[in-house]
């Protein structure tokens, strides 16, 4: 704990740790010192000169963003001299600024506007000719308007330090200085849009959002990204029921300011022309539109008929549907279809990890732990491609806390650049090479992918210090939740053993079942159905849906409430963003079927199912207040051995890149537009 330093800011006495910058010390007593270039967590710049403050005994104004507190320092942040300096800076900034606020995307949420409103002059004394430079498009999603740029260099820093990409730089000098992309006239990068998000003005704008609306005409729904398993909060900006923009508006999620290309742009599948809006029923050889009533009646009758004659069901769930839906689906299958033939596509061996951690409570790492740990071991995953938030956390940890990073993977990857040691080998064999070093790491977080599964997981835990914390990397937004909710043939919710194990996914797709029911998955990609009757709940007519007897149009995660559990086992709440006409949530569809079959009187509500989960699923008794306010709650794990029955299922990651997202990604035109074909791939 550093010693405390006492100082006075605007007459308020305050004690802060030595080394604190005046700009942050002021914040603690509710004094906002304005700044454009200062951005917490990034290198100091002191370029915008907006944060100049008066310090007693200093001969001139000093920048609060670079000034560490000193004992008995007396700071004044709102003197006439300070106000004049700020006004002067704004006058300089606005001199060459085009003042095209009426048509600028940033209008209404622009820091330059806000600052001018607070400190600026109402009139311009600049009567010279402004320097005009044509707007440039750097990628399908990034546009740059130099005249609006105030050269705060936030974009350059976030790209370099935050993303580890360094795709932006500065060319020319003086008033002709320009931010420039890495490939001359275009960008080759993650297309994460962090540069756009961090831009305080309208210099960097989004190709997806530009000229679509004014910010005050939108409503905002903070929800959880539907793509990878990291669980970033993305705020959907909705106008007239349509999503116009995704960003992380208030930095309130576990991802702070971070979002990748998927969290920011890949919501356009919602309005994809191939989106299903009406149930489909097979008549003869063709799938034809049908009413909900007809389709539900048909499926319910079939379910009842097969159940009564003791026929075989197979149920395949999803890694993208909510916990409430997954819980309800397994309950439906086990209670009303009398089957344990239930599974989903598994991408990481969470079960083996939880089993291996029996007797080691508190050994799962949270997203925050990845940022705070003294060391991070990454095994068998291309983190920057598959887990962009965790990758961001690792880089931030290295920058802010000097964490030691160890990479064990046969192929080069971005984390190599910040690694203390890289081992070009696979799995345990690779870890063996640095075992002694790892043994000395008392605060170690281990992120492991598909290279370590089955019995290797226990060996891994035995090799590493007992204080190590783990994340078993999985693919999609609710991959972890699907496991926790018991979408497994041999395990009930909370990893309780099922009385008699059912068929696994691999077995189900090959078996001649009487009914195969697929909720939000595409297991029949590249293979023909073997079962008698196929029911599919889907957004699109996927390879699986195309073979179905009945297809229910399902709502996407952005169109429903509920919860997801991310790769680190943190539960977060989904908030419904856009309006949806036609499709229903999977929970609603299952509810309709249950009612038709005579099991439910009223449709289940996500809130009620969540209550049931909290009460009955081990580890999910999370504080309700935390959940409803949109914060993340870490779940507990059983902390006891998990009884596996039967052979363990093949676990295989889909190895999505930043620009792919399984079947769903095919319907994200933005992802496909920015995807640098063949340049990016995740190697086994």
């Amino acid at each position: 704990m550093p010693e405390l330093v006492k100082l006075t800011i605007d007459g308020k006495e305050i004690e802060v740790p030595a080394g604190t910058l005046v700009i942050n010390a002021a914040r603690q007593v509710g004094i906002e010192i304005p700044a454009f270039c200062y951005y917490e967590g990034l290198a100091l710049q002191a370029a915008c000169r907006m944060c100049l403050v008066e310090v007693e005994k200093a001969p001139k104004l000093l920048t609060a963003c670079t000034l560490p507190v000193a004992k008995d320092m007396i700071v004044r942040t709102e003197t006439p001299q300070v106000a004049a300096a700020r006004k002067g800076m704004l006058e300089f900034l606005l001199a060459n600024h085009p003042l095209d606020c009426p048509v600028c995307d940033k209008g209404g949420e622009c820091e330059l506007q806000d600052m001018t409103f607070r400190y600026g002059a109402g009139e311009s004394r600049f009567s010279e000719e402004k320097q005009h430079i044509e707007e440039q498009q750097w990628s399908p999603v990034v546009f740059f308007d130099r005249p609006r740029c105030i050269l705060c260099f936030r974009c350059v820093r976030i790209c370099n330090e935050g993303m580890g990409v360094a795709a932006l730089g500065v060319i020319n000098r003086g008033a002709r200085s320009e931010i420039a992309p890495n490939k001359g006239d275009h960008l080759e990068c993650d297309e994460c849009g962090m540069c756009i998000d961090i831009c305080p003005v309208g210099a960097l704008t989004s190709g997806i959002y530009r000229y679509k609306t004014r910010p005050w005409e939108m409503e905002y729904a903070g929800t959880i990204c539907t793509h990878c398993a990291d669980g970033c909060k993305t705020t959907l900006s909705v106008r007239n029921g349509r999503v116009i923009r995704g960003n992380n508006r208030d930095h309130s999620g576990i991802n702070g300011e971070f979002l990748c290309v998927k969290g920011r742009y890949a919501f356009d599948f919602l309005e994809h022309p191939e989106r299903l809006h009406q149930p489909l029923v097979r008549r003869g050889v063709e799938l034809q539109h049908a009413s909900w009533k007809e389709a539900v009646a048909l499926v319910a009758a079939k379910f009842n008929e097969v159940r009564e004659r003791g026929g075989a069901f197979g149920v395949i769930g999803s890694a993208r549907t909510t916990n409430e839906e997954n819980f309800y689906l397994q309950k439906f299958a086990r209670s009303w279809l009398n089957t344990n033939n239930i599974d989903h596509r598994r991408s990481g061996d969470v079960v083996a990890l939880l089993d291996a951690l029996a007797g080691l409570p508190g050994s799962l790492a949270t997203t925050a732990d990845v940022y705070h740990a003294g060391a991070v071991l990454i095994v068998g995953a291309d983190l920057a491609q598959q887990h962009p938030l965790l990758s961001f956390q690792v880089r931030a940890n290295v920058r802010h806390h000097g964490a030691r990073v160890y990479v064990v993977h046969p192929h080069p990857q971005r984390e190599d650049k910040v690694a203390a040691q890289v081992v070009r080998a696979r799995g345990l064999a690779g870890i063996g090479q640095i075992r002694e070093k790892l043994a000395g790491e008392q605060s170690l977080v281990v992120l492991f992918g598909e290279h370590i599964q089955g019995a290797d997981v226990r060996r891994l835990v035995e090799m590493l210090p007992a204080t190590a914390r783990y994340v078993a990397l999985v693919d999609y937004a609710n991959s972890r939740g699907a496991l926790d909710m018991g979408l497994l043939p041999d395990l009930l919710p909370g990893y309780q053993p099922a009385p008699a194990p059912g068929l696994s996914l691999q077995e189900m797709v090959g078996a001649s079942l009487d009914v195969l029911w697929v909720v939000g998955a595409n297991p029949l990609q590249g293979r023909a159905r073997a079962s008698g009757f196929l029911v599919v709940q889907e957004l699109f007519l996927t390879e699986t849906a195309r073979q179905a007897d009945v297809v229910f149009p399902a709502a996407a995660a952005y169109e429903k409430t509920g919860s997801f559990t991310n790769v680190c086992g943190e539960v977060q709440r989904l908030k419904k963003g856009p309006a949806v006409a036609g499709p229903k949530t999977d929970l609603e569809i299952m509810g309709l079927l249950a009612r038709q079959m005579g099991h439910e009187l009223a449709p289940p509500l996500p809130e009620a199912v969540f209550e049931e989960i909290r009460r009955s699923v081990a580890g999910y008794n999370i504080p309700y207040a935390t959940f409803v306010t949109g914060a993340a709650s870490a779940t507990q794990y059983p902390n006891g051995p998990i009884a596996r029955q039967g052979s363990s299922e093949l676990i295989r990651s889909a190895r999505d890149t930043l620009f792919t997202s399984g079947t769903l990604g095919r319907y994200c035109s933005v992802l496909n537009s920015v995807r640098e074909r063949d340049l990016v791939r995740v190697e086994e």
């Binding site: 100091l44 002191a46 370029a47 915008c48 000169r49 100049l52 001139k60 104004l61 670079t66 004049a84 300096a85 002067g88 800076m89 006058e91 300089f92 900034l93 001199a95 060459n96 004394r125 600049f126 010279e128 000719e129 320097q131 105030i150 050269l151 500065v170 020319n172 000098r173 003086g174 008033a175 002709r176 200085s177």
Partner: protein, 431 residues
Amino acid sequence: MYNAPHPLEVRILTRRFGLPNSASIDTYLAHDGYKAIEKALAEMTPDKIIEEVKASALRGRGGAGFPAGLKWSFVPRQSPKPKYIVVNADESEPGTCKDRLLMENDPHQLIEGALIAARAVDAHAGYIYVRGEYRYLIDILDRAIGEAYQRGYLGKNILGSGFDFDLHTHSGAGAYECGEESALLESLEGKRGIPRIRPPFPAVVGAFGCPTVLNNVETFCSVPWIILNGGAAYANLGTRKNGGTRLFCLSGHINRPGVYELPMGFPLPRMIEEVGGGVWKGRKLKAVIPGGSSCPVLKAEETNLPMDFDSLQAAGSMLGSGGVVIIDEDTCMVKAALRIMRFYAHESCGWCIPCREGTMWLGKLLTRFHAGAGTMSDIDLIRELAQNMLGKTFCPLGDAAALPTISIVKKFREEFEEHLNGRKCPHEGKG
């Protein structure tokens, strides 16, 4: 190239100028060359060297005038990191051309000065960062460095003392900003030449994150004489707190422009009249820029001053880099202000708002004003904009642009008024 010496000069640093083959090591050795490093290695502890430099009252010749001995003493004695010597040879201040002569005519004096500094702070590598436009000097320096290696004055085990020192030249790429010490270090490290946030200062965190002694060419060149003759002897050449001699670069409207080595505190009127032979073409003196273009101008009646750091500061200007620019009565001061501003607008690195935008705006405004399209309120605007830059920029470049502008508007306001109402510049064509 070297102008004819003047009898009033006190030739310490320039004493070998004009000798045949003055840049060669043989000439250097024949005239006290490398005696100082011999003495320093054989007879002096590193602390003693620093004490001697402190006693000499030698102040940084780059412009800021910071006491050199004090600067050296800030370098940590014990450091787990290597230490570096960096010679600032990025001489770019308009009106200044002395370092160039020192390197051209007597490169070994600079090498020896850097070597002594290295011994004082226990550095084993150094760089001479040479202004991009001075590329031809790199050949001269490299030749001299080669000779010094050959004769054992550089490299391993110098003069059998066990002390090692390597010296390298490094070319700038033509940016005035890189004369600012922290921008120079960035550039030396291969990055964009923009200044660093300070503290920490280079003595603690300098080149490649290591403790670094960074001084101007002339500062290093003064050191061998100080070591040979003692700090006190050097100090006595000048005035109190302003030790030694200074290379003054007389330019502008003067009869005998050139670089003259004169004692610190030499009276400015005598410099103009006796050393420089007076204002050219029999014209009257209007103003003097006393220390390079970044200094506030002095009106003719303010020039009765001794040329040392403290006297110039007291008079509201600066001794700066020693570039003394003489301005005659037929010069348009609006145009002078414009010319200076154009330079700084061109050279602003673009890092901070007030310098980047201020120099651009003032450049455009002064251009329009000089062309006769100015208004009365523009005169105040020019001053206010410069005032808004002053003291608020990231590095001193903003001040360098603001100070002369403010002084010209303040002292020559009537000349601005003469340009109003579309009137043609009254000095146009007087040449």
